[in-house]
């Protein structure tokens, strides 16, 4: 590799040298010619000095700008410019051309919705149909890769279905203004962003439509059991920029992300795996808050922790991109299908643990 680079350099150098010999020889020809003329008295010495000087500086300039640099630099920059241009031309987020305001009491209907990620053959969602009534508290359950997170992203119009329709109160989701749609949801995603901003900003970016309301920030922190941070609202998070910045533990970050979803007046809550880093006590508290805040609003939660799932109104079980079961906890247990299987795996262990206790 190293010798290859050296060879490449030497080759380019040799080419340059040959080019130089050529140009210098033509300069030499004219220089001799003009000098001869001057010596013969046909030209003034000053003119000669001017001519030779001009020739040398001209050939240097021509070589430098035209031959070497422009060709070399163009071959270097043109691909960069092209790729930047194609970046600028890449598709923007969906156009916000809907007119309707998102309703206060939304009923969400999926009608034969199928979806594949761009460039993938496999369907992530396959002919999914369901209705979530307004104010309903819903849980999505299923194995890893069943399409739960994708379903949420479709509701928030990060992607559009390949076929089928998503309706809000009977109108196609596209008829609603994108801004009004997205700001209607209080969201907490699986992947938690740890922003280096102030604590109060970190919560209030959950709703930027209104100026930061400190009382509400405190309330949201309280809801997720982070009220110990109440006194530090103006402190910066992380020590990235401030030496006295606050460093949080994994569980605290997750609860902060939840506070963001709970902050502000959202019409619906969407939580994706909100408790993966939380201990049982914090988890229980989050599930209770979700249930409480859902009342009158409605919400959707994804969780593998069935202890939190069972208290919701309606459970939807996804497998391989299809909706295979839905209903209340009791109904699904009676059905004795996929959900019951998942539930029993966990219940067995607790039963065993409690039985040992009683022995």
């Amino acid at each position: 590799m190293k010798s290859k680079i050296l060879k490449l350099h030497s080759k380019a150098g040799l080419k340059n040298l040959l080019g130089n010999i050529f140009t210098y020889f033509s300069v030499m020809f004219f220089a001799v010619f003009f000098t001869y003329k001057t010596v013969q008295g046909e030209m003034l010495p000053g003119t000669l000095v001017l001519y030779i000087g001009l020739m040398i500086s001209m050939q240097e300039q021509v070589r430098r700008t035209l031959v070497n640099n422009i060709a070399e630099e163009m071959s270097y920059y043109v691909p960069h410019i092209l790729s930047f241009k194609s970046f600028l031309e890449s598709d923007n987020d969906l156009a916000d051309d809907g007119k309707l305001e998102f309703p206060d009491a939304p009923e969400i209907t999926f009608s034969h919705v199928s979806f594949r990620y761009p460039g993938n053959d496999a369907y992530v969602l396959n002919d999914v149909s369901f209705t979530i009534k307004s104010g309903m508290c819903v849980a999505l359950v299923g194995l890893n890769g069943a399409g739960k997170s994708t379903l949420i992203k479709l509701i928030m119009r990060i992607y559009e279905p390949e076929s089928g329709e998503i309706l809000i109160n009977g109108r196609n989701i596209k008829e609603y203004s994108l801004r009004s749609l997205r700001s209607a949801f209080g969201v907490c995603f699986q992947q938690i962003s740890q922003y280096s901003v102030s604590l109060s900003e970190s919560v209030s970016i959950g709703d930027v439509s209104r100026p930061t309301d400190e009382a509400k920030v405190k309330e949201a922190l309280n809801t997720v059991n982070l009220s110990e941070l109440d006194a530090m609202l103006d402190k910066q998070l992380t020590k990235r920029f401030e030496e006295d910045g606050i460093e949080l533990s994994g569980g605290q970050w997750q609860r902060l992300a939840l506070a963001r979803a709970f902050y502000g007046d959202h019409k619906m809550l969407i939580l994706d795996e909100p408790t993966s880093a939380l201990d049982p006590i914090a988890e229980d508290m989050v599930f209770k808050s979700f249930r409480r805040l859902c009342d009158g609003h409605g919400g959707i939660m994804i969780s593998h922790h069935l202890s939190g799932v069972m208290s919701v109104d309606y459970i939807m079980v996804l497998e391989g991109g299809r909706l295979i079961e839905s209903g209340s906890h009791e109904e699904l247990l009676k059905l004795n299908g996929h959900y019951a299987m998942l539930y029993n795996i966990q219940a067995e262990k607790f039963k065993k643990g409690m039985a040992e206790d009683e022995k």
Binding site: K239, E247, G250, H304, Q346
Partner: protein
């Protein structure tokens, strides 16, 4: 004065440091490039000298006062152009050699840094202050290279200064002190400006990092939230404010410096004016030829340029030296292998004991662990539970000697773990941490990197497949066309596989199982796994760890029922220690946590 001397000494030390590094990295190239460089600095005088004679002869011939033949004059012209060609060729050779030399040095600096970073103590990594320092040092690392460039420039200018000084001195010695004296105010002005520049850079260093950070958010995983929360303007506003503040201050500083800059250039031209008057006078008196005028003008300009360049180089060197202090600071941070003894782990049994261990992270005011004492006997399986932030992961990190206890001792088979040879000691453990590590390599490589020694001794994939099977990856991998050779992630390979969080977690487990360790350490192995996968993995874990010891941290406490013992951490202390049944009977924190969940199921 003493300060100045100290500074001078530090500059000298830094020059020695980088020269030594350069010489050790590429001795031949350094010598060759220095020789070529010397030639480059001498050669410009050849065409200058010939040109002087050409003009003198042509003028003489023109006015009919010369005895030389026309052929002689024309030959001079040919030699003049040839000397220009030679100068150009030497410059090109120099650029080839220099490019090659730079690449070689970069290659060595990179190697040098990677070696150092790999050895540096782990505790430096999660200390934000040191992390900043390291990232800054990384950014300015190539300043080591700049030292040799500046030194070369000084050498070049010195050669120019001597040669043109000699030529100039023979014509008018008195001009030399004038030029040199005039350089002093320039030096002072430049020094002041460079100080101001450096202070500016330092002041806005944080602002630059902030800009990088806000800008990077739009290209990272945060994009999703930025889109959904509609917080583009929130971060863009912060980004633009940083730019505006910096640019306003920059303009202000430059405006202030503009006057000084013009002044420093004016000072130098004074000597030019004096010299030109003198030249014109001599030429009119016919003391020198016409060719001599152009000749001396060029010589004067090269002398002035050389002295200015030396002044500027000294200032640059001063600047770089400050940065080098920083780099050397980082490079001299403690290495892990410098601490620790030579003992080897002997015997098949493993017995671990924490003796009154307390720990506090660097720069923190709070003890994470307080007076923890417990024992793990051979092949014992231990679960650790506790609320977030109670120091569970820290126990594993202390055990792996990523940190040292602030007080107390950790013993392995009765000996303080610090007495063991670090490499040998770590072979005892196979560990998986909470954050899964994703390598853009093949599936096989992703598994075997936990024990490359073992991989080198094997000529089939049996153990790799076994590890994959145990972590429930067997079916996934065999469904891929490339099998174990499949590349993970699309970073380098368009056909590479992108994995879900749960799948990466399973690769982490496979890595842990592949290594022949006596003790398995797992930190939240099931956090993002679905119930079926979680169940399978814990069943398999029980089997794998049958003939091994294991320590597992998890919030999913129903997986710990079969553990020999469970440690409950609360506020950095071991609050409870016993089997599931014992702790349930005790009715403490553990029983509380367990019932909280179990009540929903039973």
């Amino acid at each position: 004065m003493k300060n100045k001397l100290q500074k001078l000494a530090s500059v000298a030390r830094n020059i020695a440091f980088s020269t030594k590094l350069a010489y050790r990295s590429a001795p031949t190239l350094l010598i060759v490039s220095s020789i070529v460089f010397m030639v480059v600095s001498v050669i410009p005088y050849l065409p200058l000298f010939i040109w002087k004679n050409v003009v003198n002869e042509v003028v003489a011939k023109f006015s009919g006062t010369s005895e030389k033949t026309v052929g002689y004059v024309l030959t001079l012209v040919i030699f003049y152009v040839l000397s220009l060609l030679l100068q150009c060729a030497v410059k090109q050779i120099n650029s080839i050699v220099t490019t090659r030399y730079d690449a070689e040095i970069k290659y060595h600096i990179d190697n040098f840094c990677v070696e150092k970073m790999a050895k540096i103590k782990y505790s430096y990594y999660d200390d934000p202050v040191f992390a900043d320092k390291m990232s800054y040092a990384n950014r300015i690392m190539y300043d080591i290279l700049d030292v040799s460039t500046v030194l070369k420039n000084v050498l070049y200018s010195l050669t120019q200064l001597v040669i043109s000084g000699i030529i100039l001195g023979r014509f008018a010695l008195w001009i030399i002190p004038i030029i040199l004296v005039l350089c002093i105010p320039r030096y002072m002005i430049k020094l002041k400006m460079s100080d101001e520049d450096r202070k500016f850079e330092q002041k806005y260093e944080k602002s630059e990092r902030k800009r990088d950070y806000y800008y990077g958010l739009f290209f990272g995983a945060e994009r999703l939230e930025i889109m959904l929360y509609g917080i583009k303007d929130f971060f863009l506003g912060k980004y633009n404010r940083e730019w505006k503040n910096r640019n306003d201050a920059y303009d202000k500083k430059n405006l202030k410096q503009l006057g000084l800059q013009i002044l420093s250039s004016l000072v130098v031209t004074v000597s030019d004016i004096i010299f030109y008057i003198r030249l014109a006078y001599s030429a009119l008196k016919r003391l020198i030829g016409v060719g001599d005028i152009t000749y001396y003008v060029s010589i004067l300009s090269s002398f002035t340029t050389a002295s200015i360049d030396i002044v500027d180089s000294v200032i640059t060197l001063n600047d770089i030296s400050e940065n080098l202090d920083y780099i050397r600071d980082v490079l001299t941070l403690d290495s892990t292998n410098e601490s620790g003894g030579k003992e080897r782990v002997s015997g098949d049994e493993i017995c671990i004991e924490f003796e009154d261990v307390s720990f506090r992270y660097h720069c923190s005011e709070r003890d994470v662990l307080r007076h923890c004492s417990f024992k793990i006997t051979d092949k014992e399986k231990i679960g650790i539970v506790g609320e977030n932030g109670t120091g569970k992961s820290t126990i594993l990190k202390l055990l792996l000697r990523l940190y040292e206890p602030t007080s107390g001792r950790i013993l392995l088979n009765g000996k303080n773990i610090a007495e063991y040879d670090l490499g040998e000691y770590r072979k005892v453990y196979g560990a998986m941490f909470q954050e899964s590590v994703d390598y853009s390599m093949s599936a096989r490589e992703n598994i075997i990197i936990s024990d490359l020694e073992k991989a080198a001794c094997e000529n089939n994939d049996d153990c790799v497949n076994e590890a994959a099977r145990r972590s429930r990856l067997g079916e996934i991998i065999s469904a891929w066309e490339g099998g174990l050779d499949t590349q993970l992630t699309k970073r380098f390979d368009e056909n590479g596989r992108e994995l879900s969080g749960g799948q990466w977690k399973r690769f982490g487990l496979a890595r842990t199982y592949y290594k022949d360790s006596k003790e398995i350490l797992l930190d939240e192995p099931s956090a993002s796994l679905d119930p079926v996968c979680e169940h399978e993995i814990f069943t398999e874990f029980t089997e794998v760890s049958n003939d091994k010891g294991a320590v597992m941290i998890t919030h999913r406490i129903f997986n710990l029922i079969d553990m020999h013992r469970i440690l409950v951490l609360s506020d950095g202390r071991i609050a409870e220690d016993g089997s599931h049944r014992e702790l349930m009977n005790k009715g403490g924190i553990y029983a509380n946590m367990f019932r909280l969940q179990a009540d929903k199921y039973v």
